[in-house]
């Protein structure tokens, strides 16, 4: 056995251990969702059942929480994608001398623990809404959305910044030279260029919001989201219904990932086909000339 072989075996072993750590707990939890045992257990497997899923979907609090989570997720996308986009565009326009300070302010939420963002959001809006008389804004769903948007906007901004780095500003100038207004250049050049980033930022924003716990648990006040209900249930004790929820989430996301991959592959194939056709056409033209 040569050293190359040993190396390969070691790498393989490491990969197996790493992914066992990554997936092992989730797989085990998933199995417990189908076991009749009233306590989440794999061994002994007493019998196959879907009862825990029925109990899960009959859980009113969970369903209310789910609805709230979806609402907050949509609101967060609506707030943080525009804010992140504006933050990224302004980054290139702020005076170079002030850019660093601006950057520190808008990126700080990424490096702030979520609990602190939740706490500060509640403190501020409680005072602010009381002082301005807009107490209808002091609402769990709104506060949770605002708190989450604080750092999710920053994530979005980082996504837009990395896309903007490869943007050719000559395109904008060409548009302006050809007589387009600023608004037209923004709408017809910049936004289409950023469309993939807008899409991925929206998906990322929704998912981060949906699974957020640390910020939400402070900012949600008397309302509940799926994660806060879940945290309460988990603290009360273990039941396989919680495992059933995990299985549902995993199933939905795996399905989503597969659909996304398929769409992406098809799009890639279409793009490649268009490219090929264009090249063929060009070749024909060259041959004709």
């Amino acid at each position: 056995m040569n050293s190359r072989m040993i190396n390969r075996i070691m790498v393989g072993f490491y990969l197996v251990v790493f992914f066992a750590y990554l997936f092992g707990p989730l797989v085990i939890m998933s199995i417990t969702a189908f076991n009749t045992s009233p306590y989440p257990a794999v061994m002994p497997f007493e019998g196959f059942t879907l009862e825990w899923f029925r109990i899960l979907f009959a859980d009113k609090d969970m369903m209310i929480g789910l609805q709230n989570s979806l609402r907050i997720g949509v609101l967060v996308v609506l707030i943080s994608v525009p804010c992140g986009l504006a933050g990224a565009i302004l980054m290139h326009q702020v005076l170079p001398r002030l850019r660093n300070y601006y950057y520190i302010v808008v990126v700080s939420p990424v490096l702030t623990p979520g609990v602190i963002i939740g706490i500060s959001t509640v403190i501020f809006w409680k005072d602010f809404t009381a002082a301005t008389g807009a107490s209808f804004l002091y609402d769990g769903l709104i506060l949770a959305s605002l708190g989450q948007s604080s750092f999710i906007s920053a994530y979005c901004m980082l996504i837009f910044l990395s896309r903007l780095q490869r943007f050719d500003h000559a395109l904008e100038e060409a548009g302006l030279d050809l007589g387009a207004s600023n608004a037209q250049v923004f709408r017809h050049i910049l936004i289409p260029y950023l469309r993939p980033a807008i899409l991925s930022a929206s998906v990322m924003a929704f998912l981060s919001s949906f699974e957020n716990y640390n910020t939400t648990t402070f900012a949600i006040l008397a309302d509940k989201t799926l994660t806060t209900v879940l945290a309460g249930r988990v603290r009360q004790g273990s039941t396989p219904a919680i495992s059933a929820l995990a299985v549902t989430i995993i199933a939905v996301t795996v399905a989503g990932t597969i659909v996304y991959e398929l769409i992406k592959r098809r799009e890639d194939a279409r793009k490649a086909a268009t490219m090929r056709r264009a090249q063929d056409a060009e070749r024909l033209e060259m041959a004709a000339a």
Binding site: A41, Q93, L95, L111, I116, E211, A231
Partner: protein, 338 residues
């Protein structure tokens, strides 16, 4: 100083800073340091307004003012609403005093419970961060320099998938495994390795395993991005010159991947120190983590000023860690947050 006097200053601070921003911009233009079209000329009025309003709403109302209000509140006493901004609403250090020395009526010299929890949280977070780095570095290197494109794509997909499951469910999965009647104990008992189940959760084994697990992805990605940018020729050159493998990693790859390492470490440290789900779900009855204590200050003791003080202490610790990493790695904030 009375809070009723200081409070308006807190509100005025962002306005003052913005005015200074504007003044500097004006001056630079007048002095001819900045040329080219002005802001509204460049963007047009509607879009210019949209950009300004969106950024101001975000930066002022979602980032700066909430933090300032929290900082201010941490210096104020706990009072019934009717006495807010009254004569007894004075700034003081009493909430920080409580963190160090406990309540004035207790006989102990130090607030040992909270101080120990704080200390334990910081030390454990640092250990978890390093463990994460040690575990993730080989994978990041493998993906960035060894594996082919198709395999990398597949591995990335595998890495991301568990993170769609939220933190609480991930922690719950560890509880199912480590519970005294959980799989690990069953296996140990069946194998005859132990006579009776080990209380993994009480010993905090479950909590540390869960904490290490929770944020692995945020370590792998920055590392992978940094190592991927490295030219393969550099590693080959080092190998050709006879460097042993650990030399290559320690003196060639890691210095190159410094920004990625710093970025992964700061993110993981910050998230671990601020973690709430894993300690709540996996912590044994005797385990102490700082964030649940902060939570209890708010929603058990209903002492919001004290909770704010505790939150600020945690925040300052995280900032100190970020600054330390930046200093050690000789990096800028832009490089860390990329």
């Amino acid at each position: 100083m009375l809070a009723s006097v200081g409070h308006p200053f807190v509100l005025a601070l962002p306005v003052v800073v913005l005015a200074m921003f504007l003044w500097i911009a004006r001056r630079e233009r007048r002095l001819g340091l900045v040329q080219g079209p002005g802001y509204f000329q460049r963007n047009g009025v509607p879009i210019g307004l949209f950009l300004l309003i969106a950024v101001l709403a975000w930066a002022v109302f979602m980032i700066v003012l909430p933090q300032l209000f929290m900082i201010e509140l941490s210096f104020r006493p706990k009072l019934p609403p009717s006495q807010t901004f009254g004569p007894r609403d004075v700034y003081s250090l009493q909430n920080y005093h409580y963190f160090l020395y406990g309540s004035p009526t207790s006989s102990a010299n130090w607030n040992t419970v909270h101080l120990r929890a704080f200390w334990q949280t910081i030390v454990a977070s640092i250990v978890v961060t390093f463990a994460n780095f040690a575990l993730c570095y080989p994978l990041a290197f493998y993906m960035a320099q060894v594996a082919g494109a198709a395999r990398v794509r597949f591995l990335l997909l595998l890495l991301i998938t568990p993170y769609w499951v939220n933190e609480i469910l991930r922690a719950f999965a560890f509880r199912v495994m480590f519970a005294s009647s959980g799989l690990i104990n069953k296996l140990l008992l069946a194998g005859g390795l132990v006579a009776e189940p080990i209380d993994f959760l009480g010993l905090d084994v479950g909590m540390y395993a869960g904490l290490g697990y929770a944020y692995m992805l945020l370590m792998v990605f920055p590392l992978y991005n940094a190592i991927e940018a490295m030219p393969k020729a550099q590693i080959e050159a080092a190998r050709d010159l006879g460097a042993p493998w650990w030399h290559i990693h320690l003196f060639v790859v890691m210095p190159f991947a410094r920004p990625g390492i710093a970025s992964g470490c700061t993110l993981v440290f910050m998230l671990t120190a601020g973690a709430l789900a894993a300690p709540l779900v996996l912590g044994g009855p005797r385990s102490l983590w700082f964030t649940p204590i902060v939570y209890d200050r708010f929603y058990q003791a209903f002492h919001w000023p004290q909770g704010s003080a505790y939150a600020l202490i945690l925040l300052l610790t995280c900032i100190a860690f970020v600054l330390a990493v930046m200093r050690i790695g000789k990096l800028s904030l832009v490089e860390i947050t990329r």
